[in-house]
């Protein structure tokens, strides 16, 4: 079983972000593996362990963006590859998906492609479905657990807004994983050592046999949201009942119920 897992490097979720000269600044906050992708790597590793498989981690980003891949290697991925090409700097989700699909084809013999639910920077959550469509494979998003897997089919549970949906699908397929799947493992000491020594090959568009895919979505401007003007009022009283009564009246007076 060959599994490709895509990871992205993003600013830590605790970062305070600002906009300077039209670009995003996250101060001295570290770049980390996208938190949702850790669940994707965990799922890939668990499936590989159960089904005698191998896990190839892939990322798209600038050349120095290898930390996410090193994290995946430290967790236990068998190989890591960085797709990097200046022509992809302004790639939209669909352009990126074409690149992801080409990478899956180049790896060859892939049974499962796994993504996290979405990235915490761009917040689009389009990668899995778009990549699946380019490949012509089914997409199974928001996967919470996998009930069965064999050479040709997979049976899994999806965490949808209304509850749970159990789906069977033919392979190869593309999955996106949600947090319910399992707590991601910590990289082991040996894993970290292995990752720090690992060579991460670079693939350019030419290596993938692609010319730069045209992006249909353009970002014209990034701005900080307007500051929130709040007139705060602390509610006090002699007893919980008195505070609650005051608070309920104040909330009702705001006209939001």
């Amino acid at each position: 079983m060959k599994i490709a897992v895509f990871v992205k490097q993003v600013p830590d979720s605790a970062a305070k972000l600002s906009v300077e000269n039209g670009t995003v600044n996250w101060g001295d906050a570290p770049l980390v593996i996208n938190p949702w992708d850790e669940y994707a790597v965990e799922a890939a590793l668990q499936l590989a362990e159960k089904h005698n498989g191998e896990v190839a981690a892939i990322s798209l980003g600038a050349e120095d963006a290898k930390e996410a891949l090193k994290h995946a290697l430290a967790m236990g991925a068998n190989s890591a590859t960085l797709i990097s090409d200046p022509a992809l700097a302004t790639a939209d989700a669909a352009a990126a998906a074409k690149v992801f699909a080409a990478a899956v084809q180049k790896l060859g013999g892939v049974d499962l492609v796994i993504f996290g639910k979405q990235a915490i920077d761009s917040d689009t959550g389009l990668a899995a479905a778009m990549t699946a469509r380019v490949l012509g494979w089914p997409v199974l998003s928001l996967v919470a657990s996998i009930a069965a897997l064999d050479a040709g089919t997979i049976k899994l549970e999806r965490a949808i807004e209304e509850g749970r949906q159990v789906v069977e699908s033919k392979l190869p397929a593309v999955l996106s994983i949600v947090k319910d799947f399992a707590e991601p493992r910590y990289p082991s000491f040996m894993g970290i050592r292995k990752a720090s020594k690992a060579e991460v090959p670079l693939w350019s568009l030419a290596d993938l046999g692609l010319s730069a895919p045209e992006s249909k979505v353009r970002w014209s401007e990034i701005s900080a949201p307007p500051a929130r003007e709040v007139s705060s009022e602390m509610v006090t009283g002699a007893s919980a009942d008195e505070i609650a009564a005051k608070l309920a009246d104040l909330i009702i007076a705001e006209g939001v119920l």
């Binding site: 305070k16 469509r133 997409v139």
Partner: protein, 343 residues
């Protein structure tokens, strides 16, 4: 008829409220609005679509569309759009609609603007605002290709007003992929009864790490592990929070700390790695207000915070704050609302 299309997302025949918001938003763009309704036994949704502003309905009803499946739904939408060339297709932002939009964008070689909070037409293209980094920043995005595919954030476009006198024409369309050619099969559903979706909720009552400080209750004797005792206490606390949410017809949310500690499932998590929400009323209980949580709820209209720590950052965003024990305040608040709202 080209104009603007709206994909009406529904679960087993019940439309997501955001679907009607999308119809109203499409109407505001000024072109004729066609609603797309796919499923089986869902023709009743057409009337509602008309009431909220649709001029026409394309109704895809087939056994192969009975259960939502990305392939079947996206292929049908792509086929119709190729034939009829709409300027834009608007969707509510749900997991289903997001998948369909993603796949249609590949099929039609166009772009998707996701989870937008504002939209306008500029010349031939569409310009929208998409909050990024869970709303810590706003991105202005444009799509020049046609059709523009846009998913609209629920509750960002205001409540639409229904007009029961409106009607329109329903055109039936055939499924695009035969059942035998679909790669996936839905085997089972387990719905969570009575749960209000966080994305659609007008009121959200959330609990955080502080819910573990449950003073009164003694866990059953068979629970001996300290960690498990804490989880048991916190879960009793969340059912108390659930009662307040129920009194307000709202949904229960949680901070990441509460989810990671095992008090409540991930489906309830609000914040940068959970759901980004924008209710009319957000009540934060025992939540200190980490930046990741604040990013996920800062656009709520009225924020109320109850916390023992007077310096908790959540109080800076709160319209009303109470420094106190949530285990004393919450039951009293539930009682107070029940008295006032039952009239």
């Amino acid at each position: 008829m080209a104009g603007t299309w709206v994909y009406v997302d529904h679960f087993k025949g019940t439309a997501l409220p955001a679907s009607y918001e999308a119809i109203a938003a499409a109407k505001a763009l000024g072109s004729p609005v066609t609603a797309l309704i796919f499923g089986q036994g869902v023709d009743a949704l057409a009337q509602s679509a008309f009431h909220y502003g649709a001029d026409a309905v394309l109704l895809g009803e087939d056994a192969s569309l009975a259960d939502y499946r990305a392939e079947a739904y996206a292929s049908l939408l792509s086929k119709l759009a190729k034939e009829q060339q709409p300027d834009a297709v608007l969707f509510p932002t749900s997991s289903r609609a997001r998948e369909i939009a993603a796949m249609v964008a590949i099929d039609l070689d166009t772009g998707v603007l996701v989870d937008v909070t504002e939209i306008s037409q500029e010349g031939e293209g569409f310009v929208a605002t998409h909050p990024i980094y869970a709303g810590k920043l706003l991105s202005k995005v444009t799509v020049a290709a046609k059709p523009a595919l846009v998913t609209l954030r629920g509750r960002a476009f205001g409540k639409p007003v229904a007009d029961a006198s409106r009607s329109g024409t329903v055109t039936k369309v055939a499924a695009a992929v035969a059942e035998g050619d679909l790669q996936t099969k839905v085997v089972d559903y387990a719905t969570v009864e009575g749960r209000v979706s966080l994305a659609d909720a007008a009121v959200i009552v959330s609990g955080g790490r502080g819910v573990a400080n449950n003073p009164a209750l003694t866990p059953p004797a068979e629970i001996t592990d300290e960690k498990e005792k804490e989880i048991w206490r916190a879960q009793q606390g969340f059912s108390m929070i659930g009662e307040l949410a129920q009194a307000l017809n709202g949904a229960v949310g949680a901070s990441r700390a509460a989810v990671d500690a095992g008090y409540i499932p991930y489906a309830n998590q609000v914040g940068q790695t959970g759901k980004v929400v924008s209710p009319d009323l957000y009540i934060a209980l025992g939540i200190s207000g980490a930046i990741q949580h604040l990013a996920g709820m800062r656009t709520s209209k009225v924020i109320v915070a109850v916390n023992k720590d007077p310096d908790a950052p959540i109080f800076k965003l709160a319209r009303f704050g109470v420094v106190g024990d949530l285990y004393e305040i919450v039951p009293a608040l539930t009682k107070a609302f029940k008295e006032r709202l039952s009239k």
